[in-house]
């Protein structure tokens, strides 16, 4: 009912008698399985056997959300059974861990086949939270660490998978929340640890593999301000971070000036210079308008150099106009460029990017060009 990227084949109504017959058999078997699962759950037969039927059905149709709900109903009952009685006995705890592990395996296998199915991600989320509430801290922490590896694997096969990036941020939050050791430290300092540094390194790794990975750039834009706060970075260190990031993105721009992802990160860095940028998004905290002016001038100079080899790259003109209007906003004057320059950049945009003509027309009105 909602398919993506599946090529249309010739009229599907022309099927052979055998294939039609086979399909009818498949339908009958599928409907039988659905009926039996629904009936057993309605009768509250929350057993290992019914759980196996649920597994079979979910393998056939992981989008069937009600069946995932049934699975949680059954598991909830089985887990509390396995933990009732002597809560401290290792022997009693084992089955609960087995149940949890088998669900982690099931969802792992399904995610490899259906990486964009919301319900599978949800269930994994649920089973892990359940595990955390039932098992000891060390085990829970080990499980969440396993999740970080899993999500790295998923992002290795599709580095833009939206669900995987969301899940990664979620897992990181969980790991940051759970104490590193079960026993509280004597001086009562929180034993939690931030993963901002290692996550920042992860984005560097992803970007180095593929400059066009905006998901990684996005995450980086979120991590850097936090990282600087956590490092309690001084003014000079903050400036250095800003300069390093600008240098990194400028190299990237030079490598592929036609890549949107790179320009968006450039836009992010430039937006952090603005006096309107909220504190929690800033890199440097002590910028004067004179500093800002210098940054804008430097960027424009660099971008104009690239322009010499890439006259047909519209992103360059857009960035120049962007810098120019930020420059004008802080009353930088028109030392480094003139309105004639701005007009020529806008003309280039209109010429190179006719799809967005309406936008360029409006921009030229708002800039009085």
């Amino acid at each position: 009912m909602a398919s993506h990227g599946i090529t249309r084949v010739a009229d599907s109504t022309v099927r052979s008698v055998e294939s039609r017959q086979r399909e009818l058999q498949q339908i009958a078997a599928y409907k039988d399985l659905v009926d039996i699962v629904n009936t057993k759950v309605a009768e509250r037969w929350y057993t290992i056997e019914v759980l196996a039927l649920v597994t079979k059905l979910l393998n056939e149709n992981p989008e069937y959300y009600t069946i995932w709900n049934h699975r949680r109903r059954i598991l909830g009952s089985l887990l509390s059974e396995s933990l009732s009685g002597a809560p401290d006995s290792q022997k009693q705890k084992q089955p609960a861990e087995d149940l949890i592990n088998s669900d982690l395996q099931l969802t792992f296998g399904l995610l490899r086949k259906f990486p964009k199915c919301y319900w599978i991600w949800n269930h994994r989320h649920w089973i892990l939270q359940k595990a955390e509430s039932l098992l000891d801290v060390t085990t829970a922490r080990r499980l969440w660490l396993g999740e970080l590896q899993l999500v790295s694997k998923m992002l290795h096969s599709d580095s833009r998978n939206f669900h995987a990036w969301n899940y990664r941020r979620f897992v990181v939050t969980q790991l940051e929340r759970i104490p590193v050791s079960a026993t509280p430290l004597p001086d009562a300092t929180p034993s939690k640890q931030s993963l901002a540094e290692s996550e920042f390194e992860y984005t560097t790794k992803m970007i180095k593999t593929n400059l066009s990975n905006f998901s990684a750039w996005h995450n980086r834009s979120r991590l850097i301000p936090r990282l600087l706060d956590e490092r309690e970075a001084d003014i000079a260190t903050r400036r250095k971070m800003l300069d390093d990031e600008l240098a990194l993105i400028c190299t990237a721009v030079n490598t592929d000036p036609f890549d949107q992802s790179i320009w968006y990160y450039h836009q992010f860095l430039m937006s952090t210079l603005s006096p309107d940028c909220p504190r929690q998004s800033r890199l440097a905290l002590d910028l004067s308008n004179q500093d800002r002016q210098r940054y804008y001038e430097h960027e424009m100079e660099y971008i104009r150099e690239i322009l010499e080899d890439e006259e047909d790259c519209k992103w360059i003109y857009e960035a120049l106009l962007h810098c120019a209007s930020s420059y004008l906003d802080i009353d930088g004057g028109t030392k480094t460029f003139t309105t004639v320059d701005m007009r020529s950049w806008l003309d280039a945009l209109k010429r190179l990017d006719p799809l967005r003509k309406g936008r360029w027309d409006e921009l030229s009105r708002s800039l009085n060009l």
Binding site: M1, A2, S3, H4, G5, I6, T7, R8, V9, D11, S12, R20, E23, L24, Q26, I27, Y30, K31, V34, N38, E60, N61, E63, Y64, Y65, T66, N69, R72, Y118, N122, H125, W126, R160, F162, W165, N166, R169, S212, F214, S215, H218, N219, S221, R222, D259, Q260, S261, Y264, Q267, F268, S271, S281, P354, L355, R356, K357, G358, R359, D361, E362
Partner: protein, 336 residues
């Protein structure tokens, strides 16, 4: 509210001959959807049945064939998906969830069937409204999809969509919901599924929709977001959902309707987009696919047709970009 108008948009009358809309084919395609019980796919997609009905019915209304599905059968089916709790499942026997509850309300609204609901389910409207309201997280202001507590801006939008159609927005904390939407905003002007998540055209649609319904578009950086949205258009005219991704008819709708909410439809090339959408039709059997030459489905069919309607393609009824429903219906429900 002049959401669909924008300066500088020409009509589609000068499109070449081959770019026709195969209205009759699409109507019979949608009518055929419920007769495919001998296909396994029909059974494997039962969890989308109520959404599918909303997609198909909306497409038919926009195509000017509102009676192509029998009204009483549709109402019967919708009500058979309703639970005691006031929520709707995808089909009879499926659990209640926000996604289907919204579709249920949208279908009843489109068929002007709220009175039928009241006649057959005691305090029906109120019960639906309460089901939705109970899914709001009092702390963050966002909404869960169901009792299992998955949270996402899709559900927040769905809640405000359905509640506004029912005239029951007062049941929830609107300010908190708006606050949550704000916390999902990114530097590029777009929005993600939750705070910190990457901007995504589908989420931009839900967040802008929520802000439009609550009358809080003043919170949006319109130029920045408009720029990001307009960059979704690729050379072939189609729109993608994020930078450096492929074009797709469903994303074309989410981006285009978002531009419409910002009054910036003229920031992209409407003629090229219309041509892209039309190329995604199956001219023989009807329906639209995600991209030219792919398998059609009813999901891409409604978004293709709604996109064409927003582009003022001749012969289509006007669509409301916030609700993806006929404008006459939302006008009636919202008392405009």
């Amino acid at each position: 509210m002049s959401l669909v108008s924008g300066p500088g948009r020409g009509g589609m009358t000068d499109l070449p001959e081959e770019l026709r809309l195969f209205v009759d084919k699409h109507v019979s395609y949608i009518q055929s959807l419920d007769t495919r019980k001998d296909e396994l796919e029909y059974w494997l997609t039962e969890h989308l049945r109520l959404n599918g009905l909303y997609w198909g019915l909306t497409a038919l209304h926009l195509l000017g064939h509102p009676d192509a599905l029998p009204r009483h059968e549709v109402v019967d089916f919708v009500l058979s998906c309703m639970h005691e709790s006031g929520g709707f499942g995808a089909a009879p026997g499926h659990d209640a969830h926000m996604l289907y509850t919204v579709s249920g309300v949208q279908i009843l609204a489109t068929l002007d069937a709220f009175d039928d609901l009241e006649a057959r389910v005691k305090s029906g409207r109120q019960r639906i409204g309460q089901y939705i309201a109970d899914l709001q997280d009092p702390e963050s202001g966002t909404f869960a999809g169901d009792e299992w507590q998955e949270k996402d801006t899709r559900f927040l939008y769905g809640a405000l969509n359905a509640l506004s159609l029912l005239g029951l927005l007062h049941l929830v904390n609107v300010d908190k919901a708006v606050e949550h939407v704000q916390s999902c905003a990114n530097f590029d002007g777009g929005y993600g599924t939750s705070p910190g998540a990457e901007s995504h055209a589908g989420q931009v649609f839900t967040c802008l929709g929520a802000l439009t319904i609550t009358g809080r578009l003043d919170l949006v950086d319109k130029d920045k977001l408009g720029a990001w949205l307009s960059e979704r258009q690729l050379k072939n005219g189609g729109l993608n959902g994020r930078p450096e991704k492929k074009e797709d008819v469903c994303y074309s709708w989410w981006v285009l309707s978002s531009l419409a909410m910002l009054n910036k439809v003229h920031w992209i090339d409407g003629k090229k987009l219309a041509s892209f959408i039309l190329h995604c039709q199956d001219p023989e059997l009807g329906g639209f696919a995600d991209r030219p030459g792919d398998m059609v489905d009813v999901f891409h069919t409604v978004f293709g047709i709604a996109g064409l309607s927003l582009l003022k393609f001749p012969g289509l009824a006007e669509v409301d970009p916030v609700y993806c429903m006929p404008r006459v219906v939302t006008k009636r429900c919202l008392g405009q």
